[in-house]
Protein backbone atom coordinates (compact mmCIF):
# COMPACT_ATOMS: atom_id res chain seq x y z
CA UNK A 1 0.00 0.00 0.00
CA UNK A 2 2.50 2.53 -1.13
CA UNK A 3 1.91 5.83 -2.83
CA UNK A 4 4.29 4.78 -5.60
CA UNK A 5 2.26 1.68 -6.43
CA UNK A 6 -0.34 3.70 -8.21
CA UNK A 7 0.40 6.20 -10.96
CA UNK A 8 -1.01 9.69 -10.45
CA UNK A 9 -4.18 10.69 -12.21
CA UNK A 10 -3.49 12.09 -15.64
CA UNK A 11 -4.20 15.85 -15.57
CA UNK A 12 -6.08 15.46 -18.85
CA UNK A 13 -8.57 13.04 -17.30
CA UNK A 14 -12.04 14.51 -17.61
CA UNK A 15 -13.58 16.20 -14.60
CA UNK A 16 -16.53 14.12 -13.46
CA UNK A 17 -17.86 16.48 -10.83
CA UNK A 18 -17.67 20.18 -10.12
CA UNK A 19 -19.33 21.80 -7.18
CA UNK A 20 -19.15 25.51 -7.87
CA UNK A 21 -19.54 28.36 -5.37
CA UNK A 22 -21.65 26.33 -2.95
CA UNK A 23 -23.00 28.25 0.06
CA UNK A 24 -25.24 26.90 2.75
CA UNK A 25 -26.63 28.27 6.01
CA UNK A 26 -28.76 26.63 8.62
CA UNK A 27 -30.64 29.52 10.19
CA UNK A 28 -28.02 31.68 11.86
CA UNK A 29 -25.27 29.12 11.32
CA UNK A 30 -23.26 29.51 8.14
CA UNK A 31 -21.90 26.11 7.19
CA UNK A 32 -20.36 26.75 3.77
CA UNK A 33 -19.20 29.94 2.02
CA UNK A 34 -18.55 29.86 -1.72
CA UNK A 35 -16.93 26.41 -1.73
CA UNK A 36 -15.82 24.91 -5.03
CA UNK A 37 -14.36 21.46 -5.53
CA UNK A 38 -13.43 19.46 -8.59
CA UNK A 39 -13.16 15.71 -8.95
CA UNK A 40 -11.56 13.90 -11.90
CA UNK A 41 -12.53 10.50 -13.20
CA UNK A 42 -10.95 7.82 -10.99
CA UNK A 43 -9.42 10.30 -8.59
CA UNK A 44 -9.42 9.96 -4.81
CA UNK A 45 -9.97 13.34 -3.21
CA UNK A 46 -9.58 13.75 0.54
CA UNK A 47 -11.64 16.46 2.16
CA UNK A 48 -9.91 17.40 5.41
CA UNK A 49 -10.77 19.81 8.16
CA UNK A 50 -11.72 20.27 11.77
CA UNK A 51 -15.07 19.52 13.34
CA UNK A 52 -17.64 21.96 12.04
CA UNK A 53 -15.55 22.90 9.02
CA UNK A 54 -18.44 22.00 6.73
CA UNK A 55 -17.19 18.72 5.28
CA UNK A 56 -20.29 16.73 6.05
CA UNK A 57 -22.59 19.54 4.89
CA UNK A 58 -20.78 19.70 1.56
CA UNK A 59 -21.16 15.99 0.88
CA UNK A 60 -24.74 15.92 2.13
CA UNK A 61 -25.45 18.54 -0.54
CA UNK A 62 -23.84 16.28 -3.12
CA UNK A 63 -25.84 13.29 -1.93
CA UNK A 64 -29.16 15.16 -2.06
CA UNK A 65 -29.73 15.20 1.69
CA UNK A 66 -29.34 19.00 1.92
CA UNK A 67 -30.01 21.62 -0.74
CA UNK A 68 -27.53 24.45 -1.32
CA UNK A 69 -28.59 28.09 -0.82
CA UNK A 70 -26.55 29.02 -3.86
CA UNK A 71 -24.04 27.42 -6.22
CA UNK A 72 -24.22 24.71 -8.85
CA UNK A 73 -23.33 21.07 -9.19
CA UNK A 74 -22.04 19.92 -12.57
CA UNK A 75 -22.01 16.16 -12.83
CA UNK A 76 -20.83 14.31 -15.97
CA UNK A 77 -21.00 17.62 -17.84
CA UNK A 78 -24.56 18.52 -16.89
CA UNK A 79 -25.87 20.77 -14.16
CA UNK A 80 -27.86 18.65 -11.72
CA UNK A 81 -30.18 19.19 -8.74
CA UNK A 82 -30.62 16.29 -6.41
CA UNK A 83 -33.91 16.58 -4.56
CA UNK A 84 -33.32 13.54 -2.33
CA UNK A 85 -30.70 10.90 -1.55
CA UNK A 86 -32.75 8.56 -3.69
CA UNK A 87 -32.18 10.71 -6.79
CA UNK A 88 -28.44 11.03 -6.20
CA UNK A 89 -28.19 7.29 -5.69
CA UNK A 90 -30.09 6.61 -8.89
CA UNK A 91 -27.55 8.79 -10.76
CA UNK A 92 -24.60 6.81 -9.45
CA UNK A 93 -23.54 8.84 -6.43
CA UNK A 94 -23.23 6.55 -3.43
CA UNK A 95 -22.49 7.84 0.04
CA UNK A 96 -21.34 6.04 3.15
CA UNK A 97 -22.40 8.36 5.94
CA UNK A 98 -20.63 8.80 9.21
CA UNK A 99 -23.46 6.97 10.99
CA UNK A 100 -23.19 4.21 8.32
CA UNK A 101 -26.98 4.24 7.81
CA UNK A 102 -27.21 0.57 8.72
CA UNK A 103 -30.53 -0.77 9.93
CA UNK A 104 -29.86 -2.67 13.15
CA UNK A 105 -33.07 -4.67 13.02
CA UNK A 106 -32.34 -6.05 9.56
CA UNK A 107 -29.93 -8.76 8.45
CA UNK A 108 -26.68 -8.00 6.64
CA UNK A 109 -28.10 -9.05 3.28
CA UNK A 110 -31.25 -6.96 3.70
CA UNK A 111 -29.06 -4.00 4.63
CA UNK A 112 -27.05 -4.54 1.45
CA UNK A 113 -30.18 -4.22 -0.66
CA UNK A 114 -32.48 -1.77 1.14
CA UNK A 115 -33.65 0.73 -1.45
CA UNK A 116 -32.77 -1.52 -4.41
CA UNK A 117 -34.39 -4.80 -3.52
CA UNK A 118 -34.66 -7.77 -5.84
CA UNK A 119 -38.14 -9.13 -6.34
CA UNK A 120 -39.80 -12.19 -7.71
CA UNK A 121 -43.43 -12.70 -8.62
CA UNK A 122 -45.35 -15.37 -6.76
CA UNK A 123 -49.02 -15.67 -7.70
CA UNK A 124 -48.79 -12.17 -9.12
CA UNK A 125 -47.46 -10.71 -5.87
CA UNK A 126 -44.22 -8.76 -5.96
CA UNK A 127 -42.29 -10.35 -3.13
CA UNK A 128 -38.69 -9.93 -1.98
CA UNK A 129 -36.32 -12.44 -3.51
CA UNK A 130 -34.52 -13.11 -0.24
CA UNK A 131 -32.53 -16.08 -1.50
CA UNK A 132 -31.10 -14.10 -4.40
CA UNK A 133 -30.19 -11.16 -2.17
CA UNK A 134 -28.62 -13.49 0.40
CA UNK A 135 -26.51 -15.28 -2.24
CA UNK A 136 -25.44 -12.05 -3.95
CA UNK A 137 -24.48 -10.47 -0.63
CA UNK A 138 -22.49 -13.54 0.41
CA UNK A 139 -20.63 -13.74 -2.89
CA UNK A 140 -19.89 -10.05 -2.96
CA UNK A 141 -18.60 -9.86 0.61
CA UNK A 142 -16.39 -12.87 -0.08
CA UNK A 143 -14.97 -11.16 -3.17
CA UNK A 144 -14.05 -8.13 -1.11
CA UNK A 145 -12.49 -10.30 1.58
CA UNK A 146 -14.93 -9.07 4.20
CA UNK A 147 -15.45 -11.59 6.96
CA UNK A 148 -18.68 -11.57 8.92
CA UNK A 149 -20.27 -14.41 10.90
CA UNK A 150 -23.15 -14.76 8.44
CA UNK A 151 -25.08 -12.61 5.99
CA UNK A 152 -28.15 -13.63 7.99
CA UNK A 153 -26.81 -11.90 11.13
CA UNK A 154 -28.53 -8.78 12.31
CA UNK A 155 -26.05 -5.94 11.81
CA UNK A 156 -26.24 -4.91 15.47
CA UNK A 157 -24.33 -8.12 16.26
CA UNK A 158 -21.34 -7.08 14.12
CA UNK A 159 -18.18 -5.33 15.29
CA UNK A 160 -17.43 -1.74 14.31
CA UNK A 161 -15.08 -2.78 11.51
CA UNK A 162 -17.52 -5.34 10.16
CA UNK A 163 -20.28 -2.75 10.15
CA UNK A 164 -18.05 -0.26 8.33
CA UNK A 165 -17.06 -2.91 5.79
CA UNK A 166 -20.68 -3.86 5.16
CA UNK A 167 -21.59 -0.18 4.65
CA UNK A 168 -18.70 0.31 2.20
CA UNK A 169 -19.53 -2.95 0.39
CA UNK A 170 -23.14 -1.84 0.05
CA UNK A 171 -22.15 1.46 -1.51
CA UNK A 172 -19.72 0.01 -4.05
CA UNK A 173 -21.98 -2.91 -4.97
CA UNK A 174 -23.88 -0.90 -7.56
CA UNK A 175 -20.61 0.25 -9.28
CA UNK A 176 -21.25 3.92 -8.58
CA UNK A 177 -19.65 6.74 -10.57
CA UNK A 178 -18.81 8.64 -7.42
CA UNK A 179 -18.32 7.15 -3.99
CA UNK A 180 -18.41 9.44 -0.97
CA UNK A 181 -17.02 8.11 2.29
CA UNK A 182 -17.70 10.24 5.36
CA UNK A 183 -15.15 9.48 8.10
CA UNK A 184 -14.70 5.84 7.12
CA UNK A 185 -12.03 5.31 9.76
CA UNK A 186 -13.83 6.87 12.72
CA UNK A 187 -14.21 4.44 15.61
CA UNK A 188 -12.13 1.72 13.94
CA UNK A 189 -9.21 -0.18 15.38
CA UNK A 190 -5.86 -0.20 13.60
CA UNK A 191 -6.39 -3.54 11.86
CA UNK A 192 -9.98 -2.75 10.89
CA UNK A 193 -8.96 0.69 9.64
CA UNK A 194 -6.22 -0.88 7.53
CA UNK A 195 -8.75 -3.21 5.97
CA UNK A 196 -11.07 -0.36 5.00
CA UNK A 197 -8.10 1.63 3.61
CA UNK A 198 -7.18 -1.49 1.64
CA UNK A 199 -10.66 -1.55 0.10
CA UNK A 200 -10.27 2.10 -0.91
CA UNK A 201 -6.77 1.52 -2.30
CA UNK A 202 -8.11 -1.34 -4.43
CA UNK A 203 -10.81 0.86 -5.88
CA UNK A 204 -8.22 3.55 -6.57
CA UNK A 205 -5.97 1.10 -8.37
CA UNK A 206 -8.80 0.21 -10.73
CA UNK A 207 -9.59 3.91 -11.34
CA UNK A 208 -13.17 3.00 -12.17
CA UNK A 209 -14.83 5.02 -9.44
CA UNK A 210 -14.11 8.56 -8.27
CA UNK A 211 -13.91 8.85 -4.53
CA UNK A 212 -14.41 11.70 -2.09
CA UNK A 213 -12.98 10.78 1.27
CA UNK A 214 -13.86 12.86 4.30
CA UNK A 215 -11.32 12.60 7.05
CA UNK A 216 -10.54 14.34 10.23
CA UNK A 217 -6.91 13.58 10.19
CA UNK A 218 -5.28 13.28 6.80
CA UNK A 219 -2.08 11.53 7.85
CA UNK A 220 -4.17 8.34 8.06
CA UNK A 221 -5.13 8.54 4.43
CA UNK A 222 -2.27 10.37 2.79
CA UNK A 223 -1.19 7.22 0.99
CA UNK A 224 -4.59 6.40 -0.50
CA UNK A 225 -5.55 9.76 -1.98
CA UNK A 226 -4.46 11.76 -5.01
CA UNK A 227 -5.39 15.21 -3.80
CA UNK A 228 -6.24 16.88 -0.52
CA UNK A 229 -8.66 19.76 -0.07
CA UNK A 230 -8.48 21.50 3.27
CA UNK A 231 -11.74 22.95 4.48
CA UNK A 232 -11.72 25.50 7.28
CA UNK A 233 -14.68 27.49 8.60
CA UNK A 234 -16.74 26.72 5.55
CA UNK A 235 -14.05 27.63 3.00
CA UNK A 236 -11.54 25.63 0.97
CA UNK A 237 -8.20 27.04 2.11
CA UNK A 238 -5.86 24.57 0.45
CA UNK A 239 -5.95 22.34 -2.61
CA UNK A 240 -2.83 20.18 -2.88
CA UNK A 241 -1.86 17.14 -4.88
CA UNK A 242 -0.31 14.40 -2.76
CA UNK A 243 2.25 13.60 -5.44
CA UNK A 244 3.66 17.12 -5.21
CA UNK A 245 3.68 17.58 -1.47
CA UNK A 246 4.66 15.38 1.42
CA UNK A 247 2.71 14.49 4.49
CA UNK A 248 5.13 16.40 6.72
CA UNK A 249 4.71 19.57 4.71
CA UNK A 250 0.98 19.44 4.97
CA UNK A 251 1.17 18.85 8.70
CA UNK A 252 3.36 21.94 8.97
CA UNK A 253 0.80 23.99 7.10
CA UNK A 254 -1.98 22.90 9.34
CA UNK A 255 0.05 23.47 12.46
CA UNK A 256 1.03 26.94 11.29
CA UNK A 257 -2.44 28.18 12.14
CA UNK A 258 -5.81 27.73 10.61
CA UNK A 259 -6.38 31.22 9.21
CA UNK A 260 -6.85 31.37 5.48
CA UNK A 261 -3.99 33.81 5.04
CA UNK A 262 -1.69 31.82 7.28
CA UNK A 263 -2.28 28.68 5.29
CA UNK A 264 -2.02 30.41 1.93
CA UNK A 265 1.22 32.00 3.05
CA UNK A 266 2.57 28.72 4.27
CA UNK A 267 1.54 26.99 1.06
CA UNK A 268 3.29 29.66 -0.98
CA UNK A 269 6.31 29.13 1.18
CA UNK A 270 6.44 25.44 0.28
CA UNK A 271 6.66 26.31 -3.35
CA UNK A 272 9.25 29.02 -3.01
CA UNK A 273 11.51 28.16 -0.14
CA UNK A 274 13.77 25.15 -0.18
CA UNK A 275 14.91 25.89 3.32
CA UNK A 276 11.42 25.52 4.68
CA UNK A 277 12.12 22.00 5.85
CA UNK A 278 14.94 23.17 8.11
CA UNK A 279 12.83 25.77 9.78
CA UNK A 280 11.46 24.01 12.84
CA UNK A 281 9.75 26.93 14.53
CA UNK A 282 6.87 28.48 12.72
Amino acid sequence: MNQKDIPAVNPNTPVILEMNHISKSFGAVTALVDVSIKLRQGEVLALVGDNGAGKSTLIKILSGFHHPDSGTIVYRGNEVHFGSPREARAQGIETVYQDLALINDLSVYHNMFVGREYHKRILGLKLLDNRKMRDLAQTYLNTLGIEIPSVNSMVDLLSGGQRQSVAVARSIYSSPTILVLDEPLAALGVREGAHVLGLIQNLRRQRSVSIILIVHNYNQVFEVCDRINFLHSGEIVLDASTSETSEEELIRIVKSGLGREAIAAAAAEIETSAEWREDKEI
Binding site: I103, N130, T143
Partner: protein, 357 residues
Protein backbone atom coordinates in the same frame (compact mmCIF):
# COMPACT_ATOMS: atom_id res chain seq x y z
CA UNK B 1 -7.08 -8.43 -1.12
CA UNK B 2 -9.50 -10.83 -2.75
CA UNK B 3 -8.60 -13.80 -0.64
CA UNK B 4 -11.37 -16.26 -0.01
CA UNK B 5 -12.94 -16.58 3.40
CA UNK B 6 -13.64 -20.29 3.08
CA UNK B 7 -10.20 -21.31 4.23
CA UNK B 8 -10.40 -19.23 7.38
CA UNK B 9 -13.68 -20.87 8.34
CA UNK B 10 -11.96 -23.84 9.95
CA UNK B 11 -9.41 -21.80 11.84
CA UNK B 12 -11.80 -19.19 13.22
CA UNK B 13 -11.23 -18.53 16.88
CA UNK B 14 -13.93 -18.93 19.47
CA UNK B 15 -15.22 -15.39 19.45
CA UNK B 16 -18.41 -13.84 18.20
CA UNK B 17 -21.59 -15.80 18.08
CA UNK B 18 -21.91 -18.62 20.55
CA UNK B 19 -23.57 -21.73 19.24
CA UNK B 20 -26.23 -22.98 21.68
CA UNK B 21 -25.51 -26.50 22.88
CA UNK B 22 -27.94 -27.41 25.66
CA UNK B 23 -31.66 -27.97 25.22
CA UNK B 24 -32.35 -24.98 27.50
CA UNK B 25 -30.21 -22.71 25.37
CA UNK B 26 -31.85 -23.94 22.22
CA UNK B 27 -35.24 -23.17 23.77
CA UNK B 28 -34.04 -19.64 24.55
CA UNK B 29 -32.86 -19.23 20.99
CA UNK B 30 -36.28 -20.19 19.68
CA UNK B 31 -37.99 -17.86 22.16
CA UNK B 32 -35.82 -14.94 21.18
CA UNK B 33 -35.86 -15.59 17.46
CA UNK B 34 -39.58 -16.21 17.23
CA UNK B 35 -41.07 -13.74 19.62
CA UNK B 36 -44.49 -15.23 18.95
CA UNK B 37 -43.35 -18.47 20.57
CA UNK B 38 -43.21 -17.16 24.15
CA UNK B 39 -46.62 -15.55 23.98
CA UNK B 40 -48.07 -18.65 22.30
CA UNK B 41 -46.93 -20.62 25.34
CA UNK B 42 -48.75 -18.13 27.59
CA UNK B 43 -51.92 -18.43 25.48
CA UNK B 44 -51.88 -22.24 25.70
CA UNK B 45 -51.34 -22.14 29.47
CA UNK B 46 -54.30 -19.77 29.83
CA UNK B 47 -56.57 -22.04 27.78
CA UNK B 48 -55.56 -25.08 29.86
CA UNK B 49 -56.16 -23.10 33.07
CA UNK B 50 -59.64 -21.91 32.08
CA UNK B 51 -60.59 -25.29 30.63
CA UNK B 52 -59.60 -27.03 33.87
CA UNK B 53 -61.61 -24.50 35.90
CA UNK B 54 -64.64 -24.59 33.65
CA UNK B 55 -65.00 -27.32 31.07
CA UNK B 56 -67.31 -25.17 28.96
CA UNK B 57 -64.42 -22.91 27.94
CA UNK B 58 -63.56 -24.94 24.86
CA UNK B 59 -67.21 -25.34 23.86
CA UNK B 60 -67.99 -23.92 20.44
CA UNK B 61 -70.33 -21.28 21.90
CA UNK B 62 -67.80 -19.91 24.34
CA UNK B 63 -64.93 -20.22 21.86
CA UNK B 64 -67.03 -18.23 19.41
CA UNK B 65 -67.32 -15.39 21.93
CA UNK B 66 -63.59 -15.42 22.69
CA UNK B 67 -62.58 -15.61 19.05
CA UNK B 68 -64.98 -12.82 18.06
CA UNK B 69 -63.30 -10.61 20.66
CA UNK B 70 -59.92 -11.80 19.40
CA UNK B 71 -60.96 -10.76 15.91
CA UNK B 72 -62.01 -7.30 17.07
CA UNK B 73 -58.86 -6.59 19.08
CA UNK B 74 -56.60 -8.39 16.63
CA UNK B 75 -57.60 -6.39 13.56
CA UNK B 76 -56.75 -3.14 15.32
CA UNK B 77 -53.72 -4.64 17.07
CA UNK B 78 -52.10 -5.75 13.81
CA UNK B 79 -52.50 -2.23 12.43
CA UNK B 80 -50.94 -0.84 15.61
CA UNK B 81 -48.05 -3.29 15.17
CA UNK B 82 -47.23 -1.85 11.75
CA UNK B 83 -47.34 1.69 13.12
CA UNK B 84 -45.37 0.82 16.25
CA UNK B 85 -42.66 -0.72 14.05
CA UNK B 86 -42.27 2.66 12.33
CA UNK B 87 -41.95 4.20 15.81
CA UNK B 88 -45.40 5.82 15.81
CA UNK B 89 -48.69 4.99 17.53
CA UNK B 90 -52.35 5.64 16.81
CA UNK B 91 -54.62 6.26 19.79
CA UNK B 92 -57.51 7.47 17.65
CA UNK B 93 -58.45 3.96 16.47
CA UNK B 94 -61.14 3.71 19.18
CA UNK B 95 -62.99 6.68 17.69
CA UNK B 96 -62.52 5.56 14.10
CA UNK B 97 -63.98 2.21 15.18
CA UNK B 98 -67.17 4.03 16.29
CA UNK B 99 -67.35 6.66 13.54
CA UNK B 100 -66.88 4.52 10.41
CA UNK B 101 -69.86 2.16 10.98
CA UNK B 102 -71.98 5.11 12.15
CA UNK B 103 -71.38 6.82 8.83
CA UNK B 104 -72.02 3.51 7.04
CA UNK B 105 -75.41 3.05 8.70
CA UNK B 106 -76.46 6.69 8.19
CA UNK B 107 -75.56 6.47 4.48
CA UNK B 108 -77.62 3.34 4.03
CA UNK B 109 -80.61 4.58 6.01
CA UNK B 110 -80.52 8.17 4.77
CA UNK B 111 -79.58 7.74 1.12
CA UNK B 112 -80.53 4.14 0.49
CA UNK B 113 -76.99 3.20 -0.47
CA UNK B 114 -76.42 -0.59 -0.34
CA UNK B 115 -74.70 -1.60 2.88
CA UNK B 116 -71.72 -3.10 1.02
CA UNK B 117 -71.07 0.24 -0.69
CA UNK B 118 -71.46 2.34 2.45
CA UNK B 119 -69.18 -0.13 4.27
CA UNK B 120 -66.47 0.61 1.70
CA UNK B 121 -67.12 4.33 2.27
CA UNK B 122 -66.73 3.78 6.03
CA UNK B 123 -63.40 2.02 5.56
CA UNK B 124 -62.22 4.77 3.19
CA UNK B 125 -63.16 7.30 5.86
CA UNK B 126 -60.88 5.39 8.23
CA UNK B 127 -58.09 5.54 5.65
CA UNK B 128 -58.67 9.29 5.31
CA UNK B 129 -58.42 9.70 9.08
CA UNK B 130 -55.09 7.86 8.79
CA UNK B 131 -53.91 10.31 6.13
CA UNK B 132 -54.78 13.25 8.40
CA UNK B 133 -53.04 11.64 11.40
CA UNK B 134 -50.02 10.84 9.25
CA UNK B 135 -49.66 14.27 7.67
CA UNK B 136 -50.05 16.10 10.98
CA UNK B 137 -47.39 13.80 12.43
CA UNK B 138 -44.77 13.85 9.65
CA UNK B 139 -45.32 17.31 8.13
CA UNK B 140 -46.08 19.32 11.23
CA UNK B 141 -43.75 17.24 13.42
CA UNK B 142 -46.36 16.67 16.12
CA UNK B 143 -45.59 13.43 18.00
CA UNK B 144 -48.15 10.83 16.94
CA UNK B 145 -49.08 10.22 20.58
CA UNK B 146 -50.37 13.81 20.74
CA UNK B 147 -51.76 13.97 17.19
CA UNK B 148 -53.90 10.92 17.74
CA UNK B 149 -55.06 11.89 21.24
CA UNK B 150 -56.28 15.04 19.51
CA UNK B 151 -58.01 13.22 16.67
CA UNK B 152 -59.39 10.70 19.17
CA UNK B 153 -61.31 13.39 21.08
CA UNK B 154 -62.22 15.24 17.92
CA UNK B 155 -63.76 12.20 16.24
CA UNK B 156 -65.36 10.96 19.43
CA UNK B 157 -66.99 14.38 19.76
CA UNK B 158 -68.20 14.22 16.15
CA UNK B 159 -69.70 10.75 16.47
CA UNK B 160 -71.64 11.50 19.66
CA UNK B 161 -72.95 14.82 18.39
CA UNK B 162 -74.21 13.47 15.05
CA UNK B 163 -77.21 11.69 16.54
CA UNK B 164 -77.27 12.74 20.20
CA UNK B 165 -75.08 9.76 21.15
CA UNK B 166 -77.96 7.42 20.39
CA UNK B 167 -77.19 3.97 18.97
CA UNK B 168 -78.88 3.41 15.60
CA UNK B 169 -80.35 0.10 14.55
CA UNK B 170 -78.35 -1.01 11.53
CA UNK B 171 -80.10 -2.43 8.48
CA UNK B 172 -79.49 -6.08 7.69
CA UNK B 173 -78.73 -6.88 4.06
CA UNK B 174 -77.80 -10.46 3.23
CA UNK B 175 -75.41 -11.81 2.23
CA UNK B 176 -73.31 -8.81 3.38
CA UNK B 177 -74.15 -9.28 7.06
CA UNK B 178 -73.60 -13.01 7.25
CA UNK B 179 -70.27 -12.72 5.45
CA UNK B 180 -69.02 -9.87 7.63
CA UNK B 181 -69.85 -10.82 11.17
CA UNK B 182 -73.51 -11.70 11.72
CA UNK B 183 -73.71 -14.80 13.90
CA UNK B 184 -76.24 -17.33 12.57
CA UNK B 185 -74.95 -20.16 14.72
CA UNK B 186 -77.47 -21.78 17.08
CA UNK B 187 -76.95 -24.83 19.29
CA UNK B 188 -78.87 -27.01 16.80
CA UNK B 189 -76.45 -26.21 13.94
CA UNK B 190 -73.43 -28.30 13.17
CA UNK B 191 -70.18 -26.44 13.75
CA UNK B 192 -69.11 -27.50 10.25
CA UNK B 193 -72.10 -25.89 8.52
CA UNK B 194 -72.23 -22.37 7.02
CA UNK B 195 -74.09 -21.25 10.12
CA UNK B 196 -71.35 -22.78 12.24
CA UNK B 197 -68.75 -20.90 10.23
CA UNK B 198 -70.48 -17.55 10.79
CA UNK B 199 -69.82 -17.97 14.52
CA UNK B 200 -66.16 -17.31 13.72
CA UNK B 201 -66.24 -14.90 10.75
CA UNK B 202 -64.81 -11.86 12.58
CA UNK B 203 -61.91 -14.00 13.74
CA UNK B 204 -61.38 -15.55 10.32
CA UNK B 205 -61.29 -12.16 8.59
CA UNK B 206 -58.76 -10.98 11.13
CA UNK B 207 -56.69 -14.15 10.74
CA UNK B 208 -56.66 -13.55 6.99
CA UNK B 209 -55.55 -9.95 7.45
CA UNK B 210 -52.87 -10.99 9.95
CA UNK B 211 -51.50 -13.58 7.50
CA UNK B 212 -51.44 -10.91 4.79
CA UNK B 213 -49.70 -8.39 7.05
CA UNK B 214 -47.13 -11.00 8.15
CA UNK B 215 -46.35 -11.51 4.45
CA UNK B 216 -46.21 -7.74 3.85
CA UNK B 217 -43.91 -7.22 6.80
CA UNK B 218 -41.47 -10.03 6.04
CA UNK B 219 -41.55 -10.45 2.31
CA UNK B 220 -42.20 -7.07 0.69
CA UNK B 221 -40.24 -3.90 0.09
CA UNK B 222 -42.89 -1.97 2.00
CA UNK B 223 -42.37 -4.19 5.05
CA UNK B 224 -38.59 -3.87 4.81
CA UNK B 225 -38.87 -0.09 4.60
CA UNK B 226 -41.34 -0.05 7.50
CA UNK B 227 -38.77 -1.83 9.70
CA UNK B 228 -35.96 0.41 8.40
CA UNK B 229 -37.97 3.55 9.20
CA UNK B 230 -38.54 2.54 12.82
CA UNK B 231 -35.12 1.03 13.40
CA UNK B 232 -32.98 3.93 12.13
CA UNK B 233 -34.96 6.79 10.63
CA UNK B 234 -31.95 8.95 9.73
CA UNK B 235 -30.08 6.02 8.20
CA UNK B 236 -33.17 4.90 6.32
CA UNK B 237 -33.55 8.40 4.83
CA UNK B 238 -29.87 8.47 3.88
CA UNK B 239 -30.17 5.27 1.88
CA UNK B 240 -33.25 6.53 0.11
CA UNK B 241 -36.19 5.13 2.08
CA UNK B 242 -39.10 7.54 1.88
CA UNK B 243 -39.73 7.43 5.60
CA UNK B 244 -42.49 10.05 5.67
CA UNK B 245 -44.51 8.20 3.07
CA UNK B 246 -43.96 4.89 4.84
CA UNK B 247 -45.33 6.41 8.04
CA UNK B 248 -48.35 7.94 6.34
CA UNK B 249 -49.15 4.64 4.60
CA UNK B 250 -49.03 2.86 7.95
CA UNK B 251 -51.34 5.45 9.51
CA UNK B 252 -53.71 4.78 6.58
CA UNK B 253 -53.53 1.04 7.29
CA UNK B 254 -54.31 1.69 10.97
CA UNK B 255 -57.30 3.91 10.15
CA UNK B 256 -58.61 1.51 7.52
CA UNK B 257 -58.34 -1.56 9.75
CA UNK B 258 -59.93 0.23 12.72
CA UNK B 259 -62.83 1.25 10.47
CA UNK B 260 -63.14 -2.31 9.12
CA UNK B 261 -63.19 -3.68 12.67
CA UNK B 262 -65.97 -1.20 13.51
CA UNK B 263 -67.97 -2.22 10.43
CA UNK B 264 -67.68 -5.91 11.35
CA UNK B 265 -68.70 -5.12 14.94
CA UNK B 266 -71.78 -3.21 13.78
CA UNK B 267 -72.73 -5.97 11.35
CA UNK B 268 -72.47 -8.46 14.19
CA UNK B 269 -74.82 -6.59 16.53
CA UNK B 270 -76.94 -4.91 13.81
CA UNK B 271 -76.41 -1.67 15.70
CA UNK B 272 -74.11 1.32 15.37
CA UNK B 273 -73.18 2.53 18.83
CA UNK B 274 -71.25 5.82 19.07
CA UNK B 275 -69.65 4.52 22.24
CA UNK B 276 -68.68 1.09 20.83
CA UNK B 277 -64.99 1.93 20.58
CA UNK B 278 -63.61 4.53 22.93
CA UNK B 279 -60.33 4.71 24.78
CA UNK B 280 -60.70 1.28 26.31
CA UNK B 281 -60.72 -0.50 22.95
CA UNK B 282 -57.68 1.50 21.80
CA UNK B 283 -55.73 0.47 24.87
CA UNK B 284 -56.82 -3.18 24.64
CA UNK B 285 -55.57 -3.30 21.05
CA UNK B 286 -52.27 -1.71 22.02
CA UNK B 287 -52.03 -4.15 24.94
CA UNK B 288 -52.54 -7.03 22.50
CA UNK B 289 -49.74 -5.69 20.28
CA UNK B 290 -47.38 -5.24 23.22
CA UNK B 291 -48.19 -8.62 24.77
CA UNK B 292 -47.58 -10.11 21.31
CA UNK B 293 -43.98 -8.93 21.43
CA UNK B 294 -43.97 -5.60 19.59
CA UNK B 295 -41.55 -3.00 20.92
CA UNK B 296 -42.84 0.49 21.58
CA UNK B 297 -39.46 1.80 20.47
CA UNK B 298 -39.88 0.86 16.84
CA UNK B 299 -37.96 -1.44 14.53
CA UNK B 300 -39.43 -4.74 15.59
CA UNK B 301 -42.79 -6.38 15.92
CA UNK B 302 -44.81 -9.28 14.63
CA UNK B 303 -48.25 -9.52 13.08
CA UNK B 304 -48.83 -13.11 14.27
CA UNK B 305 -47.84 -11.98 17.77
CA UNK B 306 -50.57 -9.31 17.64
CA UNK B 307 -53.18 -11.99 16.92
CA UNK B 308 -51.96 -14.21 19.76
CA UNK B 309 -51.80 -11.15 22.03
CA UNK B 310 -55.40 -10.32 21.09
CA UNK B 311 -56.35 -13.91 21.93
CA UNK B 312 -54.71 -13.58 25.35
CA UNK B 313 -56.57 -10.32 26.05
CA UNK B 314 -59.89 -11.84 24.92
CA UNK B 315 -59.28 -15.03 26.91
CA UNK B 316 -58.52 -13.07 30.09
CA UNK B 317 -61.63 -10.92 29.61
CA UNK B 318 -63.99 -13.83 29.00
CA UNK B 319 -62.37 -16.66 30.90
CA UNK B 320 -62.42 -14.86 34.23
CA UNK B 321 -66.03 -13.80 33.76
CA UNK B 322 -66.93 -17.41 32.96
CA UNK B 323 -65.25 -18.53 36.15
CA UNK B 324 -67.57 -16.22 38.04
CA UNK B 325 -65.26 -13.27 38.53
CA UNK B 326 -66.60 -9.73 38.21
CA UNK B 327 -65.93 -8.27 34.77
CA UNK B 328 -63.86 -5.57 36.41
CA UNK B 329 -61.57 -8.13 38.05
CA UNK B 330 -60.31 -9.25 34.66
CA UNK B 331 -58.72 -5.82 34.26
CA UNK B 332 -56.44 -6.59 37.19
CA UNK B 333 -55.18 -9.67 35.38
CA UNK B 334 -54.94 -7.81 32.08
CA UNK B 335 -52.88 -5.08 33.70
CA UNK B 336 -50.58 -7.62 35.30
CA UNK B 337 -50.31 -9.51 32.00
CA UNK B 338 -49.19 -6.38 30.13
CA UNK B 339 -46.50 -5.63 32.69
CA UNK B 340 -45.31 -9.24 32.80
CA UNK B 341 -45.24 -9.46 29.00
CA UNK B 342 -43.15 -6.31 28.76
CA UNK B 343 -40.75 -7.53 31.45
CA UNK B 344 -40.39 -10.82 29.59
CA UNK B 345 -39.79 -9.05 26.27
CA UNK B 346 -37.11 -6.84 27.77
CA UNK B 347 -35.43 -9.83 29.43
CA UNK B 348 -35.41 -11.86 26.23
CA UNK B 349 -33.92 -8.87 24.40
CA UNK B 350 -31.19 -8.47 26.99
CA UNK B 351 -30.46 -12.17 26.89
CA UNK B 352 -30.20 -11.97 23.14
CA UNK B 353 -27.79 -9.06 23.32
CA UNK B 354 -25.66 -10.66 26.02
CA UNK B 355 -25.51 -14.19 24.71
CA UNK B 356 -25.63 -13.16 21.09
CA UNK B 357 -28.17 -15.84 20.38
Amino acid sequence: MAQTTHTSQATRREVGIKVPDTAFERALVILSRYREASIAVVAIVLVIYFQSGNTAFLSSQELSVVLRDTGRFGLIAVAEVMLMITGEIDLSVGSTFSLAPYVMVLMTIGWGVPLAVSAVAGVLLGVLIGVVNGIITVRFRVPSLITTVGTFFLLQGVVVSVYNSQPIVAPVQEPFNEIFGENLYSPTDSIWSWHGLTAFTPFLWTALVVAAMALVLNRTTFGLHTIATGSNIVGAKEIGVRTDRIKVYNFMIAGGFAAAAGVINTTQFASADPLAGGPFLTLQAIAAAVIGGTSLLGGSGTAIGALIGAFVVATLNNGLVMMGAQATVSDIYLGAAIILAMMLNVQVDRMRARRRI
